[in-house]
Structure formats: C-alpha cells, structure tokens
Symmetry: C2
Subunit: 342 residues, 2 copies
C-alpha cells in the first residue's frame, strides 16, 4: 500500500467569529491545543504517512498560512483550488495530482479542522480502511455517536465484512431530535465524519461515472464546476448502485469542533469545568468558555455556560447553547457593510 | 441667604471597575450621559448657585481631573484634602474655607457621583432646606424609597414643621430585606442620600461639640484625623441631643448609581431594555448593560440581564444581580499584585 494523506483546508466558516476571520478560518486557529487544528491534523497522520506523502488542498488566499503552519509539507504538495467548490471537486483535483505522482496511491482524505483525542486509535482505523479499499472500494470512517446529534449526517451500518470493515446500508440525512435519539438508542448508526479512504484510481473512476462534468473539468475550468460534496455527489449514489462503499467504525474521541460550545468537550478544563485561555480571571463561573487572545484581562464573575471570546478588535458574548447564532452577528455585520470585522 | 455648593469628590470606589480605576473614580465617568457625573452635578446646582460660589473637595491625585471637568470652578474653590478621611473631616474643612470667604454662607453639600432625573425638583428641595436651616438647624434631603433597598441608611420621618421641613425621628442603619420591605410598605421612612444643607457656622459648631478633635485638627494635621462620616459623627448624635436636625423630602428621580446594575434605571434604553454605548451589536438581548469604551466591536447574542463592560485593557462580564461582586475581581487583582489594572 502506498498511503498518501490529503488534508482538505478549503473551508471558510463563520462559526468561530470573532476568532476566525475570512483571512484566518477555523483550521488555522489553535482551538484545542496551542497548535492550530491543521497542524494537529498533519502531526496526527504523519506516523502513518510521512511528510513527503502529505498533500493539502486550500484556496489561494490561505496558501501562505498553510506553508507557515506546515513547514514540512513539500512545496509541490500544496494544491491550490482555483475556487471553493466543496469536497467533490477538491478531492477529484487532489486524486489527479497524487495519482500522477504515484499511480498506486491510496488516499487518506482528512478534514483539516477536526480534533481526535485518540490519534493512535484513529490511525489504526485509517490503516484498516486502507487495507479494505485495495480492491477498489470506497471507504469512509464512521464515528460511534456519543450524543443524539442533529447536526451530522449518519451512516446506517450493514453486514460486517471479512476484512473488518462494514458495508454501508445507507447514507442518512441529518435527523431531527427524536430520530437522532432513536439512532443513539438503537445503535447501528454512525456519524459521517467526512473522512475517506480510497485508491486514487477508484475515486476518479467513481467521479467519472457519477459526476462526469466535474471529472472532465478538474484541470480545465475548475471555477465553472458545480459546488458539490463527495458524500452527496459520489458516495451516496455509489452506495445505491455498485454498493462498493464500506466503512470502518470507531470512536477515537473524534470531534468536529463545531462551535465554541464544543470547546469544553475537547480542551483541558479548570476544576469548575471552564475552558479558559489567555489572561482570564474567573470567579464563581462554571461550564464557561473564556478566551482572551490579546493583552487584555478578561474578568468573568458568576456565570454559567457562557462563551466570552475576546479576539483583537472584536468581542463576542453568547450562551453556549446559542453558540451557533454567531452567524447572526456575521450576517448583521455583512449587511451593514462592516467587512473589516469579518 | 448666601448659598454655596460644596461638591464632595473624594470618593474612590471599585464598583465600576474596569471603567473606574484608581486614577479615574466613578465621579469622573460619563455613566449616565456623555458628561461625567461630577460635571452633571455642577450643572445641576449652578442655576441655584453660580459657579463663583461652587466648591469641590477632592484628593490631590484627582485635582487635575476636577479642573478639567469643571472649567468654570474658581481656582481657589478647589479644596484638596491632605488625605481621604470620609465626609465629616471633608465637610468640616470645606465649611472653614467657605466660612472664611463668606461668614454668612449656607452650604449645599452634594455628593459628586449621583444622578437626578428631575433637577428642577431637586433644586426646589435644596431651596426649601436652605430656608429651613437659617435658624441654625442641620438639614438633610430624604429620598422617597421606590424599592426595598438594603444598601442605604434610612431616615425615620418625624412631625412636619411650619417651614415645610420635617423633624428627623431617627437615623436608621441599613436594614435587612424584610425590614426594608416593611419600611417601603408602611411609609414614614426615607433614604438617607448623603445630601446636606446647613449654615457653615452651624455645622462647625456641631462638629466642635460632637467631634472636637476633628474640629481642632482640620487645618493642623488633617491626615491624623479619624475617618468618620458626617452622618455617624455629627447628624446622628445631634439628632439625639439638640434635635436640631430636619429633613426635606422628595423623589427627584434620585439614584446613587451604585453599580452597573443601576444603569438601566438611569440611562436611555433600547427597545429591549438594554443600556448600550459604544460599538455594540446586540441580537436577542434584553435587560443588558453593554458598554464598549474603545474601538472594539462588542457583539452580544441571546443574553438577559448581563453586564458586559469593555474598558481599555480589561473586560468584565457579570450578571446584573451580581454586579456588586466586581469587588471580588478587584480583590483578586490586588492580591496577585496586578495593580496596573486597578
């Protein structure tokens, strides 16, 4: 097996505003440790796949950040997307490039902005998937749910295969709360974490069959391609036709670090359950996220489950259970033309 | 009547940290309008008592601030206390100085850090008190309670006098919650707002009788004087002996602006009841106090009854009902030697 890691770093979300800005999206933030999420991703896969076989896909505006964060990444392995077109075109482009350098390549496709508490277990899962994909199947990593999450797609688990992987019965859309609770109780459903393992040749073949226009345009007119995810555009239709889709299941302490509310799940906490960093004084606070980026002192008194994010020229205060609503602030700023703060 | 106003500006509280610092205490903050509380105090009394008969007592470290805030204050009317010794020595010193310039002076003694919504009504109350004190009585202004406040001393109201003032039956210590509720329900109790009206000669005479050491030391060794309030040291014992103590009662929309929690009572509010100033975006917030002093954007989402105070190199977040606990932060900073933030 010739393993190559492809780290997808084209994301540009707003859920970590004001820490994340358009010129520094989430993957370039040190949200869990003092290293950025993309640097942690690189280090996590490196024991399985040395630096000279790691690749990164990102937008032009973040290429310099990638080079700064990943000094060991080979220059030629930084793949700049001409435009952000979601994961199907990004993975297609990477598969072409890697396949040209190594026609036998097996790809470990990794989002750049996730956290994994058990990297050794995670690598073992990737290795299992890499072995299981050698015959041409497309593998994904299914994460065992730890809560009735409504923000993720799910994988319905099929029969176990001889190689230790499982068939995928179905890709399931994001469920409502009752359905998510049932999935958790019944078992047999895993989170779709957006992590894929396949041979470069196999994914290009599937891309050609399900998204021929995307496949044909990868190196011609990338910006004209449809914006479509690999799940929706390839994995799901493939699962309904050839059924050459499988999964490897695990827990790994995985988190997509979806918002400030998730930080207490992944960070070191004080004895009151607060996730704190920077120059912070908490008195009588519990379950809070208090981040101070600059030289300012943040004093928090008598608070529960509140996020206080002090980031340069902007400050956000929001309850943990409304952390998703930071989008409303971003929308309001955009609507009022205050793009200097975005 | 020869009215002189004496504005007491020697206070140095911590309840408005981080807006207030040791070099800029509460009276020098624009807490209610865009003018500082001391400037508002000056403007409030000026129609009754022109600038050339206004005086200010403050500490040496704040003399420059007073001059900057009150440009019309005569130079010779800035009385610098050699040390902070509470109101009895401060008022005694002012009475000596004013009495020397005008032996017939009647003093309107005003804290520099209160707010009054009805300044005309307030001035009418002061005028009534000034007339009532001409025979040598010591007058105080009693504020009609609007809530069962446990943070103030009270005045028990005695019989009405022919001049429109009332006798003071007793000075009552800060009550517990049940007692404060009873006072409010029964009536006959007023808040002691720390506002006094008397002839300079009369207060000096009473000071000589009740606090002879203070009286004797005012211009000799001020720093050696006991730290004692005019209420406790003079008004209360005088009320128990000569009974030449009286009050004028009113509402006036008075507030001592005791903490950040009080700001919604005195400031203009948005349509959700938030008191907001500076570069602030609120989404789905009510009853909050959000102050941004600098050039930073403060975004508040989904919050109720919370204070967010962004002040230069420090930020405070505290629920309104715990605003008094800012002292705990100040204590913690002092204990850890971080006096640069105080």
């Amino acid at each position: 097996m010739s393993l190559h890691a492809v780290i997808l770093a084209g994301g540009s979300g707003t859920r970590f505003w004001p820490l994340s800005r358009s010129n520094r999206p989430k993957q370039f933030l040190p949200l869990v440790t003092e290293k950025t999420l993309i640097a942690e991703t690189f280090l996590r896969v490196e024991p399985l796949c040395p630096a000279e076989r790691i690749w990164v896909v990102c937008g032009q505006e973040h290429a310099a950040l990638v080079r700064a964060e990943l000094p060991r990444l080979p220059d030629a392995h930084l793949i700049v997307e001409p435009a952000a077109r979601n994961t199907a075109p990004a993975i297609g482009l990477a598969s072409l490039r890697v396949g040209r350098e190594d026609p036998d390549a097996t790809l470990l496709v990794l989002p750049s902005d996730h956290h994994v508490k058990d990297p050794a277990g995670f690598r073992a899962g990737l290795e299992l998937a890499a072995r299981a994909c050698q015959g041409g199947d497309l593998l994904t990593i299914g994460i065992r749910p730890t809560r009735p999450e409504t923000g993720y797609g799910y994988l319905r688990v099929g029969p176990r295969r001889a190689d230790g992987a499982y068939a995928v019965d179905a890709f399931v859309e994001k469920p409502d709360a009752a359905t998510a609770a049932r999935y958790l109780q019944e078992g047999g459903y895993l989170w779709n974490g957006g992590i894929f393992v396949f041979r470069a040749a196999a994914i290009l073949d599937a891309l050609g069959r399900h998204l021929p226009a995307v496949h044909a345009g990868l190196e011609k007119d990338f910006a004209a391609l449809a914006s479509i995810s690999i799940d929706y555009g390839v994995m799901e239709p493939e699962s309904q036709t050839t059924r050459r889709i499988a999964l490897v299941s695990g827990d790994f302490g995985w988190s997509d670090v979806g918002s400030f509310a998730a930080l207490p799940d992944v960070r070191a906490l004080d004895d009151k359950g607060n996730a704190v960093s920077g120059d912070v004084v908490t008195i009588d606070c519990d379950g809070c996220v208090v981040l101070s980026e600059g030289k300012r002192l943040v004093a928090a008194v008598g608070l529960s489950d509140l996020c206080i994010i002090d980031a340069g020229d902007a400050l956000l205060v929001v309850p943990r259970d409304r952390a998703q609503d930071v989008r409303a602030v971003v929308d309001a700023l955009r609507a009022s033309g205050r793009t200097d703060k975005l």
